[in-house]
Each structure stands twice: as C-alpha cells, then as structure tokens.
Subunit: 314 residues, 2 copies
Amino acid sequence: MITGSLALGIDIGGTNTSFGLVDRRGQIVAQGRMKTTGYYTVHEYIDALVKSLQPLLTQVGIENISGAGVGAPNANYYTGEIAYAANLPWEGVIPLAKLIGDALRLKVTITNDANAAALGEMIYGAAKGMKDFIMVTLGTGVGSGFVANGQLVYGHDGFAGEFGHVIAVRGGRQCGCGRQGCLETYSSATGIVRTAKEWLAERKEDTVLRGQEAELTAHTIHMAAEAGDKMALEIFDFTGRILGQTLADAVAITSPEAIIFFGGLAKAGPLILEPTRRYMEENLLKVFKNKISFLPSSLQDADAAILGASALVW
Amino acid sequence: MITGSLALGIDIGGTNTSFGLVDRRGQIVAQGRMKTTGYYTVHEYIDALVKSLQPLLTQVGIENISGAGVGAPNANYYTGEIAYAANLPWEGVIPLAKLIGDALRLKVTITNDANAAALGEMIYGAAKGMKDFIMVTLGTGVGSGFVANGQLVYGHDGFAGEFGHVIAVRGGRQCGCGRQGCLETYSSATGIVRTAKEWLAERKEDTVLRGQEAELTAHTIHMAAEAGDKMALEIFDFTGRILGQTLADAVAITSPEAIIFFGGLAKAGPLILEPTRRYMEENLLKVFKNKISFLPSSLQDADAAILGASALVW
C-alpha cells in the first residue's frame, strides 16, 4: 500500500481543523486550516475539508501521498469511528475514517488526539527513541496516550488511555461522564478554573482573581500566579497535587521512562509541572523514585497535532 | 539458541520451589519440588536446586532443554536480578539469572511471579489468544501482570505491574512499602484478615469469627462466609469493593478484554469475584461497561507457576 513519500495529517479539534503534508523526516511541507464548526452535517464538513485540501493535494500529486492519519477526540483506532464526542458538533457514532477515505480516495487511519500526540512525540519529539512513556494532554479535559514496548496501548477495544477518567478523588467533583472525582475535573484547563471558583466562593482572602469569576480561564490564573498572587499559586499547587498523586498510580502500573506534557494548562510550565512532579515523587513506590523524566512537549502546538496524526500512516 | 524441545520452568516461592520440564504444547513431562528456606546463602540454595534438578536433566538429556525460565517475587526481567524481596530469605540484590544460568549451563530468564502467571495464562490458560488482559494474583500481597498488544508490559526498568501498590484508599492502611492505602493492604489474603481483625475490635455483633482472632486466615473467613456468617460475607463485600473500584481505574488506562484471577484469596471464587465485579462495573466509564470478562485462572495451582515460568523460554 505504502508507495508515496508524504503522509497527510489531519487534526480535528472542537473549533479548528488543521492539516498538513509531512515527509518521512517529519518536515511539514505544506499546511492549512479551516473551521470545524458551522456545518449542518458531518457530510458537509467533509465536503468542505476536501475542498480545503484540494490545493495541497494538487500541488504534490495525490500519487505521492501514502495515506491520511486523523487525530480527533473520541476517535477509535480499531473501528475508525468517532463515538459520542462531547467536544465535536456531530452526534452519535460517525464512521469518520470511511467517510474521509471515500472522499479523498486514500487509506485513512484515525485515533484520539492524545494518542496522536504520543505518536508525534515518539517519532519526532521529546520521546524520540523511547519505548515506554506516558503522554498527558492537559486541555479542556485530560487526555493520555500510553506507550509500552514501543507501541501505543489501544487496549482490546481501542478505548485505552482514559487517564482523565481515573478517579482522583473518590466521591469528588461531578464529571461530564456521569461519575464523580475524575482526574479531569481537577487537573485540566477547566478543572483549574473550577478550583478557583470554588475557592473564591469559600474563602475570604484577598486575591487578584476576585471580581473576575465570570471570565476566569486557566490563562488568567496562570498570569496571576506568575505575578505572585498567593491564591493562584496555591491553586496550581493543589492542581499539581491531584495530578501528581494520580500519576504515581499510573507509574506503578506501567513504569514509564518519561511523562510528557502537552496542552493549554501545560503551557504554565514549572507552575504546574513542579508541584505535579513533587507530589508524584512523594507518592511513588521506592523502586520508581527519582528516575522518571518530566518533559514538556518539544513540538510546536500546531505542528504536534499534524505530525502525530500523520505518524499513523507510517 | 533454541534447539531443544523442552523448557525448564522454576517457580521460587517464599516456602517452596517447584520445577518442571515443559514441552512446546504445555505438557509438564516431569516435575519436582524442594524447600526454598533452610539454606545459609543463595549459593547453598542453588547448589541444592541443581542437585534436585539433576535426575530430571539426566532423564531427558540437557541438550533437549532450550533454556530455563524462573518466576520469583521481585524478579526483574531486564536485569536478571531479585531486589529486596520481602518474602524470600535472601537480602539485598541477587543476580539470580546469572547464578542459576552458570550452575545449570542454560540460558536463564527471570520475571516476577505475577508476570510469569500472566504468560502461563496467555499461552496455556484462560487468556489463550488474548492480546490485552490483566492478570491479578491475590496472595500474601496483590501481584499483577499487564498484557498489551500481546506483550507483557515490563515498563522501562522492568518494574511495571505493581498494581498491589496503587493507592486504593488515600491516607489508608500502612503498607509494608512505607506508604499508606495500597491495594494489597485491603484486597489480599493478608488484607482480608486485617479487615476482619479491625472489624472484630470495633464492632460488637455476633460472628463465628469472634474468639479466633489470633488464628484468622483468608481461609477461615472464606469458610465462615460459606456458612452464611453475616460479618464474613460483609468482609468479602468490602474487600471486593476496594478491589473493584481500583480495577475500574486500571481498566480506564489499559482497556483489557479480560481480568484473570489467581492466588489464595481468588480461591474463594464468587465470594470475592462477585462483589469485585459488581463494584468494578459500578465504577466503570460507560464505554467499558458490561464487556470485560472476569475469569478465574484455568491452570492448576502447581502447574500454573511452572508453565508460566517455562513460557519465558519460548
């Protein structure tokens, strides 16, 4: 099947879709983007996607493209379907790989966005050469990709890596999944905002966050912490504690060489990674202490998703 | 390297060492056992092991043996060492694979007992043909072997699968590892006895367990529950709840086809597996519900360990 020298990588996010043509060395030779939203059906979306891709495909010649890889929330590697994606505009189960494949006449492989990011890091990024690592994406939710023996762990049915739905606090915060205390209700971009709002309601102390409850984002809290705001710093410590404790348990199961962080909240850098690492180390079983690398993603934001998705092709 | 048609499997337990010669179809063609304890040094133990093995080796001819696989607590697949094994008589770090290999002039591979059991189940037992499953051994502690993409997950340094040391109850019972709330302080043969002793001290109700605190074992509690004793039944429910909740988190990470149970406490059968399954299902993320098989090991006790260890050779 593999004859061309380029792979098409498509990253479908809740708001934007990015795509690019990637050569075997991981160079993006052409790229573009479009809105994910604003189409009545997934079929209209795919028509628009094909139209957006056309200039790129014509430019390099479709015969030079080996296939397409797609990263999207809730995408299943085995079935080629997207199922009940809370952050995408399409309801129910969508046979995404088939729809895109038929439209482009290319072999299409899909996986969830965190798995795609893990592949991107393994082939082109911070995890190059590693065989056992955990990729954690701290965005609207918490995504993860577990790599063991040099392979992504998809699990029996393709739904492995739901680290964001490990119970971090038993009986804790209500999660969109219907359960309570999931990691992502605490240690995601939305979780950290939830913490700030709770604390502002419960506590009386002075903080620059007070008065801006309605517009709070992970970025606002990040800026406040950078400026030395005590509550904002404490919020990062708390968020890192929950994440670090939960990572210690994932380490006990998979014994990774490194944990790699990506996504909006990870951009806070040491503010989130330092407490996460400290609490993880405190909670690690002795044999794992002081030997797991903590790395931010080494790929550019826009590139990582495209590279990761394209890596599905090779 | 592999020329012979037989593999030597050695299972080193805290009390006994079992060994056997296994053919490629998983038939144990000869076997024996000896004490693990009673030797001043590991060297004396290995001398005795070689002496015990001699009749078997002479019988089949050493040239017909491809190699030896050893299952032992705290054994590391990558280093060939046993490190700080709490349940073995030897202290510190022991280069076990090298010592046995030199003594027998065979290639020796070692791994921990739960990983060996997982291999045994995958090749000859309940997990035959499965590519993604979790093996859980409920003995003195809780051991585990995680199989993903048809391969054991050893992790970067060979210490993966420490499911017994996932924190099941934050701030919970003191564990021998120095941390608090590890799964094995609740859901092992020793954990269930600890629960019984705590409850007998705290509660006043009538139970056949009262008065036999000093001699309580998992088996006594099992017998009491079989006879309908209310507290004993409740103890099994509690033990299964902690195990089931913790398994739900491991499922979110690895998405297994099945979970296979082995070891002393697993012998209580439905008494432990029914509540474990019920609480796991209650705590599962929707995509995993009602599709994970719960299976007891299909191998005979003594055989499983030998078969699993021998499977390291092929």
